[in-house]
Amino acid sequence: MTALLEVEDLRAGYGSVPVLQGVSFSVAEGETAVMFGLNGAGKSTTVNTVVGLLKTWGGQVRFDGEVISKLPSSEIVKRGVALCPEGRRVFPGLSVRTNLELGAWTNRSVQKQQMERVFGYFPRLEERAAQLAGTLSGGEQQMLAIGRALMSKPRLLLIDEASLGLSPKLTQTVFQVVDQINDDGTTVVIVEQNIGVLPYADQALVMQKGTITFDGRGAELAKSGDLRTAYLG
């Protein structure tokens, strides 16, 4: 399978503090890749750099063969990469519907079609379409954040900490919907600490101290000791 996302020797950080120390991996089109690691390993920094929220210090990111690491985030989203950020970050003072409409900012032609698709995945959002996003529960906000990311009809969806703060039951629901999104043709990269997502992973990545320490199939990771190492050191 051809790689949709290729990350090569990526270096980035905050201020003068380096976080990514040369991250390299690729994700094949149509797959779900899950990135595990402890807090501070560099998972969020990786996805934030891929979508242009952080500047690349070195190395490069290619999407569908095109180097995107020097582009502003607005151009990266236009090319078909979307991020569901850590902490949901919905627009609290705007309605659910307006939040979703803003998700289609770069690709307005698909707004109606994607809205129906999102409401299909998350019927609760349709019921609450007129409600202010800030008044939704944590789980509903997570659904909204994923839905908003889908509104631009991305080819690659990056989800940062999908299960953070959610109940185990709701977490499973979110994982199942993400699996469905992947089955419908969107390539997915999930940053997670919850190993409950492993059954949905085609590819698994483990990050430690700003580098990738495991890159293989999800089933391989389940059998190997790398996952234990990633969490227990």
């Binding site: 990266i76 989203v77 236009k78 950020p85 627009f91 900012w105 509104m151």
Partner: protein
Amino acid sequence: MHEAVLGATQFSVQINFLSPLINGIANGAAYGLLGLGLVLLYKSNRIFNFAQGEFATVGAIVTYVFYSGTGVLPKLPFFVAVPIGLLASVGIALLTERLVIRPMFNRAKVILVVGTVGVALLLIGVEGLLPYPKTQSLPTISDVLKVQPFIGRVDGIPILYQDLAKLAMLVVLAVGAFYFFRYTRTGTAILAVSQDATAARVVGISVERISLISWGIAGLLGGVAGVLLAVPPQGTVTPGAFTGTTLTVAFAAAVLGGMTSLPGAFVGGLSLGLIEAFANVDASFVPGLNHVHSGQAELAVFAVLLAVLLFRPRGLLGSET
């Protein structure tokens, strides 16, 4: 006209409520016009823009120098000079965003606010260096149209074309801005950026472009205020003309209306104009108040502002509309 009897003391008094009503609406429209720009930038950048008064002054000065043909400049018709003045206000606002706000965009908001104070002081200084007669005023609408200054009289009080123009412009701009934020993509994007700039970037909104648009609109609103307010009897094109008392009361108006509400700036401006005007009504006939001659208006504005901050800090109409 009222004949009033208070307690045991009988006295005759003539209070005309119409005059403060008309004056209050006229002044309130001025505060509302400046307040609109303040609210817009508070909504979009979450900062108080202390340079808003100078966007108004620059618009008034540039309109004046082209209208009067100061120095080597051509003498242009008023309705040609006004767009040039407005363009100057927009240009100054855009430069402020590009050179002062954007480089410090990720710094603490208080630093941006101090930056706008710096811009205001710089502009006042530059205006002082410009060679033009600084005590002059812009013509009123009636001067330009060569008609009598008032449309009619109500109970002997003249209703000025200029005051009507201010009020009409305030209504048009407040309603226009309300619809802009509620029904346009750019307006919604400005709200999104103000609520979470990172999330706005995530959906592909260019935060820099949105910031530039917000400042441009604020500059335009300031310019319109300047052109309408730099007229006789009080208004002049003096450097810093609108950064003193006018801006202070405009801030109070914006807070009273609710800093995030555009209709609130309209309501707050008119309310404060009326409070000021009625506070200035000659109350010397009231026993115990016959020594009060000045300062009532400022005191009333302060009292109202304090009450709002204490009991309703989000203002009369505070909302994201």
